[in-house]
């Protein structure tokens, strides 16, 4: 994906941010993303993001773990090599519950964390374009994606009127997952911008 211009507005308080988000969206601008130092509850709804289905993925991984444990132990102890433990049944379900439970939890956790990293495109050595270095400290950074027809000065004035303190235009790669690959699978390195 090609590089695009973005209008970046910095907010100092979530109390200012929420009405601003609402007004920017009402005015018809497209909010690319809002970067916040902590999880601001309700901001995803305000931005109109859909609920994450990460927990559904977790459930599927958990069920996989359950099936793996029961299937694996059942096959091993009652089919592949049935051993006689003190005359007890080969299919000893109650004794397998602890390991079944542990594997359910293990599969669900590992699967969810990997899915989380995949969805967010996060991994060691991944660098993403950062719109503002204070976004992980105390600034709420709203990034608006203008269309070719948008008057950038108008947009900047609009953000300013809604409480943004620092406003600037930045060039960055477009698309939801910033800073990795483009459509032709070529790595994009934007040298002009300081990346962290």
């Amino acid at each position: 994906m090609a590089n695009k211009n973005f209008v970046v507005g910095c907010f100092d308080d979530e109390a200012v941010l929420f009405p601003a988000v609402k007004k920017v969206r009402m005015a018809g601008y497209k909010i690319h993303d809002v970067y916040t130092p902590y999880a601001v509850h309700g901001l995803d709804h305000a931005l109109g993001l859909r609920e994450t289905s990460l927990h559904t993925a977790g459930f599927i991984y958990g069920i996989t773990g359950t099936a793996t444990a029961l299937g694996g132990i059942g096959w091993i102890l009652s089919w592949d090599w049935p051993l006689n433990f003190g005359g007890k049944p080969h299919f000893a379900l109650p004794a397998w519950i602890p390991i079944t439970f542990e594997l359910t939890v293990l599969f669900a956790s590992i699967g969810m964390v990997l899915t989380f990293c995949y969805l967010c495109q996060m991994a060691p050595f991944v660098k993403k374009h950062q719109f503002h270095s204070r976004a992980t400290d105390d600034a709420f950074v709203m990034v608006v994606e203008p269309t070719p027809k948008t008057n950038l000065e108008d947009l900047k004035a609009f953000l300013s009127a809604n409480g943004a303190t620092e406003i600037e235009v930045q060039e960055a790669e477009a698309g939801w997952w910033l800073g990795t690959y483009d459509k032709q699978q070529k790595l994009v390195r934007d040298k002009g911008i300081e990346v962290a």
């Binding site: 979530e14 102890l77 051993l83 004794a95 962290a196």
Partner: protein
């Protein structure tokens, strides 16, 4: 606009006049300055202990388990005592990070990061004991089920010792994942503040490119909640399974159904004591009194007095059942060897009773709960008591077998058995010192999340709101 309302009557979780930037500054400062002399002294003492532990283990591996004083009936001595003790300590971290998250206890944010780190290091220490106890440690991979050339002869999935393998390794992995995902945003914060290139690079790698995007936060919250939901039964299962190691065997004093809840309560009890020991020092050394407040210390002392009393009830129930069963062997275990002060190991039972049941009762008094010296002293006492508990369970039940001819000589550890234990302390504190230097010891993002509802300077503003009529308040703040 407050997204969440909290009464002014609740004690603030963050003291002082703080804003988001100050929170970042306060918590990142210890990472960004040179460590103090005290840090170096503590670190080198820990490394020295660790080296002694390494030497003890080297002796044990080279010359065999004979380096320890284990004998015909006392096959599990200090080694398994220490294993259960460390695993128990780990439980408090998960309780704070997972169970208190589900219960929406705001005070967990001040202590969860360090407590989870403690969990991970404690589980690493615990894992060493059964591992090296195997003797031929190079065969340790036999505990994992994989298609092998020995038949394939599989492991026994019906054995509690194997359940332990799965429980401990799952517990370690899940705790690590939970802890690390929580660290990602904070590593991002440190990366963005970094002054040197190397620091920026290293924290950039470990932060996985965290940006703080709303969508990422949404997924992060969902992940944290589900991991907490998974960790909650997990932490209960781990010590339950550890207790099965004992409860499923037919040994007097072990063969009881009360063990799972009794072990879990004991684990949380000892774990909170260890958290207290660490926090009392940490908040002082790193000047974090505003984040780990007396309110936090008091809340943890309340958990200690609760779980200590549960453990006390369990001890008494055991004694009652020993008598009520009218089983000669049970009665011998409980009334001759344990509760009898003049039996060979009677001192350990009464040491346990004093440290675990009687002494924590002083925490019914608010003044003592909020006294740092008393808290620190009690945290050490409780951990000694909980070590005695495991020693009592293991040694007093084992040292007199059904056959009087197998009653061994008095079991006491060798220097290398003790050295292994000291070495585990070395390992634990070496890890903890490194953690305290290079990791944010308090969850920065989570503190920021509660700051505006529970911070002291924001609470003051709530005072005026509380005078408003309810209808007006609801109109303004309910959503």
């Amino acid at each position: 606009m407050h997204l969440k309302y909290e009464s002014q009557l609740r004690e603030p979780l963050v003291n002082g006049d703080k804003n988001y930037h100050q929170v970042t500054e306060d918590i990142c400062r210890p990472i960004e300055v040179r460590p103090t002399k005290l840090w170096y002294i503590g670190f080198f003492i820990s490394v020295a202990l660790l080296l002694f532990g390494v030497y003890s283990v080297y002796r044990e591996v080279t010359y065999g388990i004979g380096q320890w004083n284990l004998n015909r009936t006392v096959g599990w001595g200090w080694d398994i005592t220490n294993f259960v003790w460390w695993i128990g300590i780990g439980h408090a971290g998960t309780l704070i990070s997972a169970i208190l998250l589900l219960f929406r206890q705001g005070w967990r944010t001040g202590v969860n990061r360090a407590a989870e780190a403690m969990t991970i290091f404690a589980v690493i220490c615990a894992g060493q004991f059964p591992l090296w106890h195997m003797g031929r440690v190079w065969m340790a991979f036999f505990v994992f089920p994989y298609p092998n050339t020995r038949g394939p002869l599989w492991i026994n999935f019906n054995s509690p010792l194997l359940w332990d393998v799965f429980a401990i390794s799952t517990y370690f992995t899940v705790s690590l994942l939970f802890w690390y995902t929580g660290l990602l945003p904070d590593f991002g914060t440190i990366r963005d503040r970094a002054k040197t290139k190397l620091r920026k690079k290293l924290y950039g790698i470990v932060s996985f490119g965290w940006s703080g995007s709303t969508k990422h936060w949404q997924r992060h919250e969902s992940l944290a909640l589900v991991l907490a939901g998974l960790s909650t039964p997990l932490v209960l299962s781990v010590h339950t399974i550890v207790s099965f190691d004992f409860a499923t065997s037919v040994v007097p004093g072990w063969h009881t159904t009360i063990f799972p809840p009794y072990f879990v309560a004991g684990a949380i009890f000892s774990g909170f004591a260890m958290v207290q020991s660490l926090m009392v020092i940490l908040r002082k050394v790193f000047n974090l009194q505003d984040y780990i407040t007396l309110g936090h210390i008091e809340a943890m002392n309340k958990v200690i007095v609760l779980t200590g009393s549960i453990v006390g009830c369990a001890y008494l129930t055991e004694l009652f059942m020993g008598w009520y069963s009218q089983n000669k062997y049970e009665q011998y275990a409980f009334f001759y060897t344990r509760a009898n002060l003049f039996s060979p190991y009677g001192w350990s039972y009464w040491g346990m009773m004093t440290c675990n049941v009687i002494s924590p009762q002083i925490f019914w008094f608010r003044k003592l709960r909020r006294n740092l010296y008393v808290t620190f002293f009690m945290s050490v006492v409780v951990n000694i008591g909980m070590w005695f508990e495991r020693f009592v369970i293991i040694v007093t039940s084992l040292f007199r077998d059904y056959l009087p001819s197998s009653w061994p000589v008095y079991y006491s550890p060798t220097i290398f058995e003790m050295g292994f234990y000291l070495g585990s302390f070395g390992l634990f504190f070496t890890c903890f010192f490194l953690f305290a230097k290079y990791f944010p010891v308090i969850a920065i993002a989570e503190i920021k999340h509660v700051l505006k509802t529970s911070g002291e300077n924001y609470k003051e503003k709530v005072g005026d709101i509380e005078k408003e009529p309810v209808e007006e308040f609801a109109h303004q703040y309910a959503h």
